[in-house]
Amino acid sequence: MSTVETAGRLVVRLSGECDMSCSDELAAALSAAIGRSPRTEVDLGGLRFLDSSGIHVLVTAHRDARARQAIMYVTHAAGVVATVLELTGVAALLAPPPQASGDRS
């Protein structure tokens, strides 16, 4: 997991597998990012696995961001990570805002 600042937003990059053994670490990283920046992108491109505990962390962080008038969204989900986000309906909730479409490049 790494956090980099770029072009008016913080990008939190996840890699490896995210389950209950690392959800606390993810929650702390997202909370720190949301506290620092009005825009946080969570780049899932390097993530090979995401379970319900990771999804709950993402949804909670998204709610916290909204409460702070901040934006948090996910990008580059693939494979089984994209599948689980779609079937839970969370892919749409955490989709990039329209004005962030350039972030997908």
Partner: protein, 133 residues
């Protein structure tokens, strides 16, 4: 403690788990056995996801581990997750996916959605996941 629940022990087509850091290895075990049994990789990864959710549920709610087995039947790959919860613990009925912004409650709903058949066995001490191959 029952020897069959020792951490990370592999006995043919079964493997035990006891702590959260065991889960990644167990997922690889389920995926690899499912692919070897003839499931396409994407379907094997759905079975892996469901098994992982059941294992997490065991760790979260029992504070103890369990046992995972994978085998084949005519036309299907079966993955069973067994734990120490008492017989008759698991009620029948499908879990419903919560709203997208719900803070929790997705684990068992994911299991129901990604597997072809979800059933209980051994008096409710085990959950069996079936994927048609």
């Amino acid at each position: 403690m029952n020897a069959a629940y020792d951490t990370g022990r592999t006995m043919g087509d079964e493997m035990s788990f006891a702590v959260a850091t065991d889960l990644a290895g167990l997922r690889g075990f389920v995926r690899d056995r499912a692919v070897a049994a003839g499931l396409a990789t994407a379907r094997a990864e759905l079975l892996m996801l469901a098994a992982s959710e059941l294992m997490s549920n065991t760790l979260e709610h029992t504070g103890d581990g369990g046992l995972v087995r994978v085998w084949t039947e005519a036309g299907a790959v079966v993955c069973e997750v067994r734990d120490r919860r008492p017989r008759g613990f698991r009620p029948p009925g499908a879990a419903v996916m919560p709203a997208a912004d719900a803070m929790r409650g997705r684990g068992l709903a994911i299991v129901e959605q990604v597997c072809d058949v979800v059933s209980t066995a051994a008096g409710g001490t085990a959950v069996q996941l079936r994927m048609t191959r």
